[in-house]
């Protein structure tokens, strides 16, 4: 493998990482503040992608689709919160896992009913067609670069809000000790609605952005959800900083593993089985890393909650 390819794949890994971060950020804050496990968070990502793809097809404009899809995912998130999730606060994790699992089953099926099982395509916006030269003889697709930039910018913005504003201070305090914040007279449910809505929209945003480069299909939310959970568990639940670092780590491991493992395996195996085992090992790599990190630090890299 050449250094150039390695560079491209690293960029792809980072780009996947920022998408994961956008999904994981909402998840980790929702869990941090409300002690609520939302398996259905991946659904937001899927809805974002589907809404983006069909709105782009209907309006003919990527940008219009993006602008419309964001409030739509926000509304979908708030509707779910109102219908199901708010009845789950204060319940045990088991009930939360189960109920949100039920939401996944329902919405995956709903998506199948509305859009069919076949993957959807979403065209890249004309403005972001083409590629940018990184160095002589090495080009990187402009759209992927744009995702990377937009993701980093959103992460930066989120960091500013969480670290530098009063609202952010409340969210952080809520993640550390929610009963205390509630006792101090903050309306924790309103705070949570806000966090939840933002989280849903961020995941939807990630979905819209991912739609042109990934296939849009009914299972896409599940894949991202599980990886996002790996991210927040590695990062330490409730920690936005941890989620960011872990997301980039997982993105890199996942992407580089997929492109490198078959080559590594070829050192010891024949080409065809090498491709097979390489791919399998690559899919496992993230989980092995997670197991390793948790064996070493059972509460993740940046544990938030005291005691």
């Amino acid at each position: 493998m050449s250094t150039q390819l390695l560079l491209i794949q690293s960029l792809n890994g980072l780009q996947f990482g920022v998408l994961l971060f956008l999904v994981a950020a909402g998840l980790t804050l929702v869990f941090g503040v409300m002690d609520f496990i939302n398996l259905a968070h991946g659904v937001q990502y899927m809805l974002g992608a589907y809404l983006g793809a069909s709105l782009a097809a209907a309006t003919g404009s990527f940008w219009l689709a993006l602008v419309l899809a964001l409030p739509a995912t926000l509304l979908a998130g708030l509707a779910l919160e109102w219908l199901v999730f708010r009845h789950l606060y204060g319940r045990d994790h088991l009930a939360q896992v189960l109920a949100t699992f039920g939401v996944i089953l329902s919405l995956n099926q709903l998506v199948r009913m509305v859009w069919g099982s076949a993957p959807l395509q979403m065209p890249t916006p004309a403005l972001l067609e083409g590629s940018i030269p990184l160095m002589p003889g090495l080009n990187y697709p402009l759209y992927r670069a744009a995702i990377l930039v937009a993701g980093l910018a959103t992460a930066g913005l989120l960091w500013l809000v969480v670290e530098r504003t009063r609202l952010g201070a409340l969210v952080r305090a809520g993640a550390t000790n929610a009963p205390m914040v509630a006792a101090l007279g903050v309306d924790i449910h309103r705070l949570f609605m806000l966090v939840f809505g933002c989280g849903a929209m961020l995941a939807g945003f990630a979905g819209v952005m991912a739609a042109p480069i990934l296939s849009v299909d009914p299972g896409m939310g599940d894949t991202v959800l599980i990886l996002a959970f790996v991210v927040i568990v590695i990062g330490g639940i409730g920690s936005v900083r941890g989620a960011f670092i872990a997301a980039l780590l997982v993105g890199l491991i996942e992407t580089l593993g997929r492109s490198l493992m078959p080559d590594v395996m070829r050192l010891v195996l024949a080409p065809s089985p090498a491709r097979q085992t390489g791919a399998a090992l690559a899919s496992m790599l993230v989980y092995v890393a997670m197991a390793g990190i948790l064996a070493w630090r059972p509460r993740g890299l940046f544990p938030v909650r005291a005691g």
Partner: protein, 299 residues
Amino acid sequence: MAIFAALALAPLVGFGAGHSLSLLARAMILGLGALGLNLLVGGAGLISLGHAASFGIGAYALVMLDAAGQTDAGVVFPVAVLAAALFALLTGAVAIRTAGVNFIMITLAFGQMAFFTAASLSAYGGDDGYTLYGRTRLFGTRLLENRWFFHYLLLALLVLAWVVGRRLLASRFGRVLRAARENPLRVQAIGFSPTPYRLLAYTLAGALGGLAGALLANATEFVAPSFIAWQRSGDLLFMVILGGLGELHGAILGALAFVLLEEYLAELTPHWRLIFGPLLVLVALYLKGGLLGLVQRRG
């Protein structure tokens, strides 16, 4: 027990047709796996979202032996059980160190690992799965292919697992396990470290899952990575809750209800999950104590 009696009589009172019997077989096998999971969730308070992995290990152990020409029950079942137990022991050693959500997530992650491994086993069909040409042989006979024999064998195993599980929970070991669920700090303060007890329970649940997996492979005569998909683990957890956490046989009742409901809804509409999903939400929200709790409140 009413459930066991019903299962024993079912084939005699008109449910002896091939389709009903295979449906009941599926329910009993899933019940066996769910019973193991209930030992963990209800007994030890450990919520595993990766229990389907043990099914998969058991099933794939059978597949590998089948491909190697070994189909004798005396070999197949012990290997399936031991393989699943070993997997549970190794992954459990890491998972038990964590608690709460992290435990749920790490078991999910190990389940995904098993899933991707199975999907990559090209020698055994990869994503497409592996078709078995014949069931496991019992003492050289094809007895397992007899529907009636298979039905009563499953029932016997289910009753056995239930009896053993109950004794286990009432024993000294089970007492420590249940106490650690209620208050781990208290248990440590009187001199127990909960870890080995939990790990053993996790391993036992894995072993039972392995047995169920090998049986499921026999029932369907086909094994695919979808056996290990994380949705399967979610289904198993649902069965446990649906039946009722408090008692071991809740898991059996839950599995039975689950399989019958799935069958009924699937006949009703291809979009049956659209009904099934909300139903699951409602059960999680409102059916505290599960179906057993419902029955007991009536009685």
